[in-house]
């Protein structure tokens, strides 16, 4: 059993209530931080912990916090990103649903560190029932004196508000999220200015992911240095992974980042192996935006070393032979899955979610969807594959926000690693409608569970 810092109490009956959460040691970090530490000391602990943003980009949290501008007389805001809309990702939902007080506790400490008296949780609109759970937890924390005016007699005031989104993946991007919080369309802003200087209502703002803010609780409790001892290299602490697709045990797992991908997929503690005794074909290890990897490159790097479930190892080899840890949305595909169809559904997703501000993204995502649909339905031509490759290259790097890249990478990786499957679709327009390419093209042996 690996170390658990976030979900260790998730199965305690009644942990969703303040009473049980407090009895289990909850809100100690608020007492420690607000009464015994200065704001600079808190930021310093978070820096020492090596915590990296859990929303997908992996930016060091302590460093991000130290960038916040502090102009005289201008309020600052902390915003919690609970938009969670990257396909394959459902970890924040789990944390908020079962341990709402853990997030609230992390938010209070972080709000204190950043000087935010009004903190907002922006939650995807579809998570309506979780909104109620969070609002209930906020009321309980307020009644216990951990929120509201003059918290624990320290003079620090803090309120937390939950705002539901309206259904738009792009609002997970931090500047689109801010626009949405201001009651506008979710169009990402051109940076600079960065939110740390001018964010919500043009005030200095820090946007962090749910899991990032929850991780502040163990960091304060155990100290940044101790936290940094868990994990390996720059992958410190624990990470929530939401595993889905063709596995025996889909769900949310907290891992310390020293286990191998193979162990994560095949051990009974985690995914429990591929469903129905089938073989592993491919995996998208960090949410739909990151490159898909065929089984051989997933389990070992191009150098033949075992691949581990952490930031560095998953990206070993760059995009040529590696991928990314991303948001921790781990999507497993078995031997019967069609890469073309899977890529098509993702392309449709990005076309649907493009905000439409930049032509390469708006037009390019539409073209990619159409071409992929054409190939998938047996009407494709060989030149379509090259055209797809061309389009994704023209989107990447030429847009206001990273959604353009996020739409390009899955298409690029699918062609890079599974070109023969695309070609097979083109050459076999009828057969491809009734059967799958399967595992035919693997030169390397495929991992078969013992």
């Amino acid at each position: 059993m690996g170390v658990k810092l976030l979900l260790d109490k998730a199965n305690v009956p009644g942990i969703r209530t303040y009473e049980v959460y407090r009895r289990e040691g909850g809100y100690r970090s608020v007492e420690k931080a607000l009464k015994q530490m200065t704001t600079d000391e808190i930021v310093e602990e978070v820096k020492k912990s090596g915590l990296r943003g859990r929303g997908g980009a992996g930016f060091p949290t302590g460093m991000k916090w130290s960038f916040i501008a502090k102009p005289e007389g201008v309020p600052r805001h902390l915003v919690c990103n609970a938009d969670e809309s990257e396909p394959g990702t459902f970890k924040d939902r789990y944390l908020m649903e079962f341990l709402p007080h853990l997030l609230i506790e992390g938010l209070i400490v972080s709000s204190f560190a950043l000087g935010s008296n009004d903190t907002y949780i922006y939650i995807r609109g579809e998570y309506a029932w979780i909104t109620n759970i969070l609002e209930q937890a906020i009321e309980e924390a307020k009644a216990a004196g951990f929120l509201g005016k003059n918290i624990l007699g320290t003079g620090f005031d803090c309120n937390i508000h939950v705002q539901r989104g309206g259904g738009a993946y792009i609002c997970g991007e931090e500047t689109a999220l801010i626009e949405s919080l201001e009651g506008k369309r979710g169009n990402p802003r051109i940076k600079p200015p960065f939110p740390a200087i001018q964010g919500l209502w043009m005030r200095p703002t820090v946007v962090n992911n749910v899991e990032t803010l929850a991780a502040v609780v163990p960091i304060i409790n155990m100290g940044g240095e101790e936290y940094a001892k868990i994990g390996v290299g720059k992958s410190t602490g624990t990470k929530l992974i939401s595993a889905c697709g063709n596995i025996n045990k889909p769900g949310v797992y907290e891992i310390d980042m020293t286990i191998t991908v193979e162990e994560f997929i095949y051990s009974d503690e985690y995914c429990g192996g591929i469903k129905d005794g089938k073989k592993l074909k491919a995996c998208i290890p960090g949410g739909s935006s990151v490159p898909i990897l065929p089984a051989n490159l997933l389990l070992t790097t191009a150098k033949g070393e075992p691949r581990y479930m952490n930031y560095e190892s998953l990206s070993d080899g760059g995009f040529a032979t590696g991928s990314m840890l991303g948001s921790g949305g781990f999507i497993v595909l078995d031997e019967d899955q069609c890469i073309v169809k899977n890529t098509y559904t993702l392309a449709r997703f990005y076309r649907h979610e493009s905000c439409g501000q930049c032509s390469p993204c708006r037009e390019g995502t539409g073209w990619m969807e159409k071409i992929l649909q054409k190939i998938e339905t047996g009407k494709g031509e060989m030149s379509d594959i090259d055209l797809l490759w061309d389009i994704q290259r023209k989107i990447e790097g030429n847009t206001i926000c990273p959604l353009g890249d996020a739409a390009s990478w899955p298409v690029a990786a699918a062609i890079r690693h599974f070109r023969d499957e695309f070609e097979w679709h083109v050459k076999n327009p009828e057969l491809s409608q009734t059967s799958n390419f399967g595992l035919q093209h693997y030169a390397d042996p495929i991992h078969v569970p013992a």
Binding site: F90, G166, G167, S180, G183, G245, T345, F349, E353
Partner: protein, 166 residues
């Protein structure tokens, strides 16, 4: 259907606006639209959008551009219960196609359509953050997960019964 809030709805509206600083009441627009949609029969007519604009003291166009951007706001009437079935990658590889076909056949409607009795609307949507519990759909504020044909049957029966009991 009325397009003004009753007392309870108005209290909730005021609570939403109070979360933002003075003069930043436009920030309450998304939550206010959710409230309006729930209060006015599951969709937002032009009158409803104009009403929200007047309450927030902003221009109607500011409300229209938001209402048309986000996928959760229905700008046309919908059935009493909307089945929003996820069709994105993770759900697709877990069998959402079969579920979508089954719902189409059982309710005899295509995506975007409503049954003749006005009871059910079928919508195909993108990832709802339930990928590990696939196939799945959202009905109102509830997620129905691990869908099978049998489960779809019982969900349809459940909502029909709910409609007759009300």
């Amino acid at each position: 259907m009325a397009t003004t809030f009753n007392d309870i709805q108005m209290t909730e509206f005021k609570r939403l606006v109070a979360r933002y600083p003075e003069g930043k009441q436009k920030s309450a627009l998304l939550p206010a639209l959710h409230l309006a949609q729930e209060s006015f029969g599951g969709w937002l007519s032009t009158e409803a959008l104009d009403y929200v604009a007047s309450l927030l003291q902003i221009e109607p166009i500011e409300v229209y551009e938001v209402a048309t951007f986000y996928s959760m706001y229905n700008l046309k009437p919908v059935g009493k219960f909307v089945f929003e079935v996820c069709q994105t990658g993770p759900c697709m590889i877990s069998g959402s196609d079969n579920i979508i076909d089954y719902i189409k056949k059982t309710l005899d409607i295509k995506p975007g359509e409503t049954t003749k009795d006005g009871m059910f609307t079928l919508k195909l949507v993108e990832c709802l953050g339930a990928c590990g519990y696939a196939p799945m759909m959202q009905v109102g504020k509830i997620y129905k997960e691990h869908l099978t044909k049998e489960k779809v049957d019982s969900i349809i029966a459940e909502y029909r019964a709910q409609a007759t009991n009300n």
